[in-house]
Symmetry: D3
Subunit: 279 residues, 6 copies
């Protein structure tokens, strides 16, 4: 759910950052009327994100044509031809690295996310993302996470209330913090409370929290929290979740599991942009 | 070598992206005059990058004080206290995530880079970075790579000439491409040629390239290329370099080894920002 | 809950818009070292909003000092001295109109809002705002509304789901629309459904909406909707609410009443910035 | 007389402000290929301003078509169909509120302005606007005022000289102030002097002012000022002018009457954007 | 009469343009704690403009101190020491070229302007500038022209009406063009008409123009135009005015002479920024 | 080698600067549907630069058509018709001055550059530009210089190392400065050292500089420097080079001669935009 306006602005500044005054090599070496055709090839198994952005980048060089065989969210096998781009050689070569930088990073996020999601298949738990994103890329990274199968946690600090340990300790009690939040929060926004202990979970339930974050609890305590809540509010497990541990957490019965790693530490996937040779 | 102007602009847009209209939770829950103190703790072994940016972010909330015990480029052990931040609680909590997002990502790059650098210690090879960076973060990521021990390849498309296979095929020959580039390139900028074969290496040497990129060559061919060049121009090994293979490549005698992974796929390092409890 | 970053940017562009290349009159007529002192006087009864922005505008001309006797949210009587500003005459005169334009407009909103709020005192209904704001001023206007005693509805299109008649008719049914929204909405965001009829209210309740908007219903139907809901979800009355009709609506038992007029049609209040004459 | 460049920039930032990362509701609920058609209906008598901006906003979503039956400046009766918009449903719903926010506000200004203008019909007086506009909307609001029948006073501080009481008191005398202004003012810009008394009017006439502002004078004094000037320079009446008092002021014989209220306090007019139902 | 806001923005973008990611040489070669002191020396006779901007650029690197012995508008002799700058060496060297680029260009304009002004000393004619300025530098260049002794013509297209030959031919007649302009022009803005012939001058006088531009007329015709006007409105001579011809034009009795060359073709003056050597 | 993105942004801000809220004269005087046709005529001998930018400016007013008979880099004779522009009269007249301001300035640079280049024809010396450009216009001015026959020196501070006297004195010695620079410079960037004496030239050669700048040396010393270098590295002559002295400098055998004057002091060339009269 990213608006075209957001995407256009990101593309503009990414191109400006990479190109500077101009693409020195292509301007000097390639004739103005030379044309090129490039094929977009998957070099590993990928859940795709960013292909529409990549296509948009090429189309900005107005005479380029882009034909895609896949779309964002698709699962693509290593070796698959994903699409072709054709147009003036100078323009294509000037923007190809920027297009790939978006595509490889965002597909990396979608792919890693899908791997976490697969681990918890069949449980009631849903994977969610965090605000641990790279500066400037929040909208795109959260979109990539959702293409990989995650739901989004809040987008920024103004569209959700999450009362953390620091808030509670400054404020005095969970009850008081929730009461203050409730009196002023926009009416379509929920209030979540971070809890370290079962006692805090009880306090948060009583205070009327809309959702509870179980911070770094062990599986046993999570199960007890699930029992305590009895389905009254959704529970989120958070803190140091890894591929090896996520299944056990899901089986404790929580509703959501948040993983910072999917946006903060996803390795780029390998996608090639190769010259098409005409025989 | 990042100018303060560049950093300020990145900080502004990162804060705007994360805060939106305001930090809903802190504004509602925390009294305007409450103060907080946070400690910056390393939770794993880290080569530090971004600590000066993090400090600058906190200082923008003007009444915050920041005391650092470490500086960018330092090697920090897991468990080390890196510094303290104190100031108005609302302001601190509004910016802490953004500060950590920069710090964890950039230190991730410096740390991963340093691991590659260690692998090739004692050889003549120097690690270098690429243009495979995340959109908007080029300057910071290249700086982080250099803090981790790498040298920089070109910063963008206007400050270096790299004639790749696509340029060569459109242009017709390496000789012609180098000649065209030489006639118009800014006088302090070098010309590098990407070569897939030893025949191309010879062609590039003859054409007067300032530097040669050996693309995806095996160790044997790299050794031959080193012999061919005989020290006339620096040679760069590139393409799919990994932790397991980098040492062998270095030992083939090349001058530079470029690794996209250090900027494109570095996992965030674990750094905590913990409330200081006064007893 | 407006972040200083948002305010600074608005001030900069407002000053640029009004000043252009420079304040022709003051530069030509007033000596560079002349000083002035101005008093901020309320000329009618006001609920104050924007006084901190006004102060910030004067302080940007760095040698100005501002002393305020009141703060945002205060009720101020006609004739009250609200504060004083002193500094270089050229700088003061260049920015005074911009400071007043913010202050008079925002206080107009807070004052009108408080009048609606007074009308529904003693009922369970809470006044809320809408997205009917003036382009560019959303954050400030919503803040002014809350200073006048309203709560905020969603801030923009990405932080709340409001399924309107157009969405329902395109989608086919309320049930399907809510189901689709539920599957992808960020986890701290609520889903509201706009209903024209009691049949739709039942449908929305069944579909699991988090909140229901009663669109242009008469008092009788609103009372029935309140009975139908039985407190399960909050109900919002909306559509053409005016000072003369709001009390009756509140007494129908709804939880929220939204009024576009408070942000879209609030007349500016009269505040003077008068030269202080020294005797 | 607003340049397209100015309008485009305002539209972009208004859309960004309202949409944020994306239109959550439409993206989740409405299929990507659904289409919608909306009719723009006047719900009260209106002097139209902003309809071309609204059309431009819809056209930015490139596949939208807009058919208008009216144009800016037209007088439209309650109930009139003003035009139709058709296109992809997601895009239409994402921008409709922003389009209406411009249109309702600007038409509110044009409509209120026209009411003041009607009051002084048949006199020599011409209604003019002021710098009392809402931050960021100066160009559009002044244009709307002129569509309502007013002339513009200066656009900003650099395109007209208005010597006010504060300037005079700091400078020492009207004569000196006008002399200083005359020596440096751009050659196509006029010099106006604000006068509180008839003595000041005489002083300003003698000093060679190009225009005189009569500040808060009663009708009797205004008539005397008109006599004093004898048509040598235009006279502007200013200060607290209201619908009930403007006729008497006009009949005192002044050339211009300025009213801040037309831009600062115009209520939005009621315009609907209703789904077109196909039978 | 340039507002600080305008200047700050120009400085920021000029520094960003010249520095890019950082000052490579200084960062690599100069220790972080090294200090430097530079002296600003005039190397030819100069009318100074831009010295306050230069000082502001150095002060942005906050630890720099700037001591000026001269100010904008001063006439400075070749060899004069104009001021000193001291601070961190890296910061000073990073911004010195940008500071000089502003200073040498703007002082070039003020100096050339003053030479034209001297040529017409003792006549009634006043030198004025035009819109022939370099893109982005309009405000600064017009300010520099006024420091050199010129008055400003309009600042841009929205603050003055100049009806040129193209307007007249499209519109049909001078009379009609002036009438249309008069009906809608902001009330503090004058209307000037460009005339090629004496017949047009008569037409423009009759139509009530506020000022008349004599386009490329010979001295004889200018004298006749002066007689025709008889002092009713100011006359501006324009078109290909050069140092050798300006005196004769002034002696024809016109009020203003406009010269595009002073902003469009002024050579930079020679100003040095030399290291201060301590003995 | 200027990227379209760079050009678009410059055009936008130049138009905004000149137009402000709108073109007052054309909006008032010219009917909305009037059309105009303008011819672009060379009024002196010109080496053309900026004609593609001028065309782009006209095309932004979308209904304008532009037909060019010449292209950037062409030598055009006085009197030549260079092209025609046709479209809506209001739009054409609003942008013509901005288009000419770019075109006359940039062609001025290309033309002056070509005159210096002609002076050194037949020698080995190549003319190069400097960072002495006008703030905001660096990319365009350097491109214009290259159209006039010059090569570019570095584009900004981050794409070339030039160790100047200040760097050397702070650093201690040329040897140390070069060593430090070598250890951290991006691998495609060269290191140049500024030398005042032959002793320094020897030092720089020994230190391994990639290029040497001979600062203000007389012809005799330059010849000795050429002999010393023996072709090992390129030599650049710099400092106060003028039309009368450049040939002698070139004949001393240097490789490059840099002239700040070509970008900093080029007078605008005379190009007319004249109405096409239909008979």
């Amino acid at each position: 759910m990213i608006d075209p306006l957001v995407v256009e602005e990101l593309i503009d500044s990414a191109l400006a950052e990479d190109i500077g005054f101009g693409d020195l090599t292509s301007e000097l070496v390639i004739p103005a009327d030379a044309r090129a055709e490039l094929a977009l090839n998957a070099r590993e198994d990928i859940v795709l994100a960013g292909i529409e952005i990549a296509a948009r980048i090429f189309r900005r060089r107005s005479e380029c044509t882009v034909e895609l065989r896949v779309k964002d969210g698709d699962r693509v096998k290593a070796g698959a031809l994903m699409g072709k781009v054709a147009g003036p050689a100078r323009g294509l070569l000037a923007v190809e690295r920027t297009a790939l930088n978006f595509l490889q990073h965002l597909s990396g996020i979608a792919t890693l996310t899908s791997q976490y999601v697969e681990r918890i298949a069949g449980t009631r738990a849903v994977l969610i993302d965090t605000r641990k994103t790279l500066p400037g890329l929040r909208a795109l990274e959260k979109h990539a996470a959702s293409l990989g199968g995650a739901r989004n946690h809040r987008l920024r600090l103004d569209d959700g209330v999450l009362i953390k340990d620091n808030h509670i300790s400054v404020c005095g009690s969970i009850a008081l913090a929730v009461k203050r939040a409730r009196s002023g929060v926009p009416v379509l926004t929920k209030i979540e409370v971070e809890c370290d202990t079962l006692a805090q979970v009880e306090e948060a339930l009583e205070a009327g929290a809309d959702m509870i974050l179980l911070d770094n609890m062990d599986a046993e305590d999570m199960r007890r929290a699930v029992a305590l809540s009895g389905g009254r509010v959704p529970l989120e497990a958070s803190g140091g979740v890894r591929m090896e541990t996520i299944r056990a957490i899901a089986e404790a019965g929580v509703d959501f599991i948040s993983v910072g790693r999917i946006t903060q530490s996803a390795p780029a996937v390998d996608i090639g942009l190769d010259a098409v040779v005409r025989v």
